[in-house]
Symmetry: none
Subunit: 195 residues, 4 copies
DNA sequence: GATGAATGAGTGTTCATTCAT
DNA sequence: TATGAATGAACACTCATTCAT
């Protein structure tokens, strides 16, 4: 059990930093402190090892998403929650986030790959969450009038963009999180609601 | 000259869809309709071919950035311009954008790689542009008060996030561009300015 | 004891159909319903398992040969017996025959291999049996005059050829056995003896 | 062209003596005096190399068969021709014969393998040739009455058995060929015809 | 410019075998 | 007896690159 985890951790780290194709099974074995064949004892092959890591990471992520409260008096709280959650996840699982953000895209061309399924599921979930949130907020006049679908897409883009830059260590880490929340608040909330 | 371009195009396309490590020189040669050694006649190696494509793409991109007007009565116009420019670029050079967005990150670990230099230069440029823009906007009371540095980082994140999703064909293409501009306008402009 | 037999049976079947080199210890273990290390508990290794099967099969075969009656009034009866015995053996131990016929040859280059010893012993025995048979038959004028040594070799070839084709399921099974006996009778017996 | 032939020869020799699974591509390369990748430059893989050798050998063999005269005054001449041809082939292409005789059988389980197709084709051809020969011989009363189908199968068995033993160097080489022809003559020809 | 032939250095994977339990 | 975990050695095959022409 122990060595299996060592393999998973080493692989996650290497796949994240070097990509799937740029990482060799020998590197993984060495980094994990085991021999190459052990990888094949625990996993069917390099692909399954990759998929396994990915699936676990996405599972954790989706669990966190599902646990977000869906009924709040102020709708914007839900949006702030979503932003906070994504910033938190990058810090908690940096390797996995990096991996999803950078190694997945290459695999998105294959419609049968786990990446495709999970990325689609993520988009669907976020779309549902944000759509309901915006609709309710507008109905209650907490939010200003706006076209919902494009705004939802834009919000997803904002979240994934910021998450990615943080994973890539391209942001300088300071108050980006709170700035983002304030920024979105100003963009969404009706003037009356701000007081 | 002709065949050299065929190689460059084929390589750009393949690097973009399969990544650097996932693309073989044989694939490039086949896709370009030439033989492998010709690649080595025109380029030192796979690496140089890659950086060559990258450098050209970045050059085009930076040229476009430099041509943006820096003095406008309304500061937000500059921000809208920036957003529009990025959306335009994805559509004009989809392969190259995809390549920069997805193949570059893996190379960012190497501080000597062209990717690193260009990404840093991009960040620097955008930071300068946006910082000046926001400072001026706030000074003129066109924009609300806000912490400048984090907001700049966030705006960069927003732009790169949306660009990336469009390159990955993850957005559904509709009015995201205008929604983004409106969204930012509401978030930045002071209430008085809106009228 | 039970599992040991399962291993032997599985191995015999697999070696026969896939050859020695084409069969893995894992396949044998799986087919036998045991784990790989158990093979090594019962046998020194893959080689010993192979030779063990081979030796047992040859032992059965040689026992049958030894039990053939050596003194008959009509010499041809001994030849018919030999033919019948070989046809019978293919049907009784198809896997083992197949194995001897197809996996052995590759091992014949190694003069120290069990295959070599057994195949040599078989040739020697058959040569002795047939030589004596023919000599006696010719002496008694039951058989026509013929060069003995080449005829013996040819008879061995006939028997092994037919056995092999039956093991490979290349013959269509019909009256080949009786046809063979009649054929040989006509070829060997003097005209006078036929009446 | 030269090195390609060296590879083919080395492979034929090694496949013949060690079997397909028992032969490594490194052994082939070493024996051929080339490097391993060159094998893959000239052939798709080990399988194609094997198939290529097999196909060439069978082609030569079938060509020889087709050139046998089909109309002779004495039918037995055709049978003697067939026997002679097979003995000749073993001596001309010992590696290939060995290979067909010993490496093929393992592949016969796969109905799609080239071995299967060729072995079937061989059986069909020989059956047609011998059937016509026997029918005609019996009609002309050159041959004794006998059940045709089983005798044909037996003759094929005789030929392949003797060929195989010679390829395996199990016969002592002497007058087996003429003994076989005489043997078959006595078995087939009617008493009247013998004078 | 352009290519057919060739290769050193690896790549993912498998195999027979062992060892601690 | 029996097995889960582990490995050294090898295997078929690929890749970026070179060289003679």
């Amino acid at each position: 059990m122990n060595k299996k985890h060592q393999i998973l951790n080493a692989a996650a780290k290497l796949f994240a930093t070097q990509g799937f194709d740029g990482t060799t099974t020998l590197q993984i074995a060495t980094e994990a402190g085991v021999t190459e064949p052990l990888i094949y004892y625990h996993f069917k092959g390099k692909d399954e090892l990759f998929t396994s890591i990915l699936q676990t990471a996405f599972e954790k992520y989706f669990t966190r998403l599902e646990n977000l409260p869906r009924r709040t008096t102020i709708q914007f709280v839900q949006i702030a929650n979503l932003i906070n959650l994504h910033f938190a996840i990058v810090d908690e699982m940096p390797n996995e986030t990096f991996l999803v953000m950078n190694t997945c895209p290459v695999k998105l061309n294959d419609p049968d790959h786990v990446c495709r399924a999970n990325v689609d599921r993520q988009k669907e979930w976020l779309t549902g969450y944000l759509t309901q949130c915006l609709e309710e907020g507008i109905r209650r006049q907490e939010f200003v009038e706006m076209p919902i679908a494009p705004t939802v897409e834009l919000l997803i883009g904002v979240i994934s963009g910021l998450t990615r830059r943080r994973a890539l260590k391209l942001d300088s880490n300071r108050q980006v999180r709170t700035a983002t929340i304030d920024f979105c608040r100003r963009a969404l909330q009706a003037v009356d609601a701000k007081s």
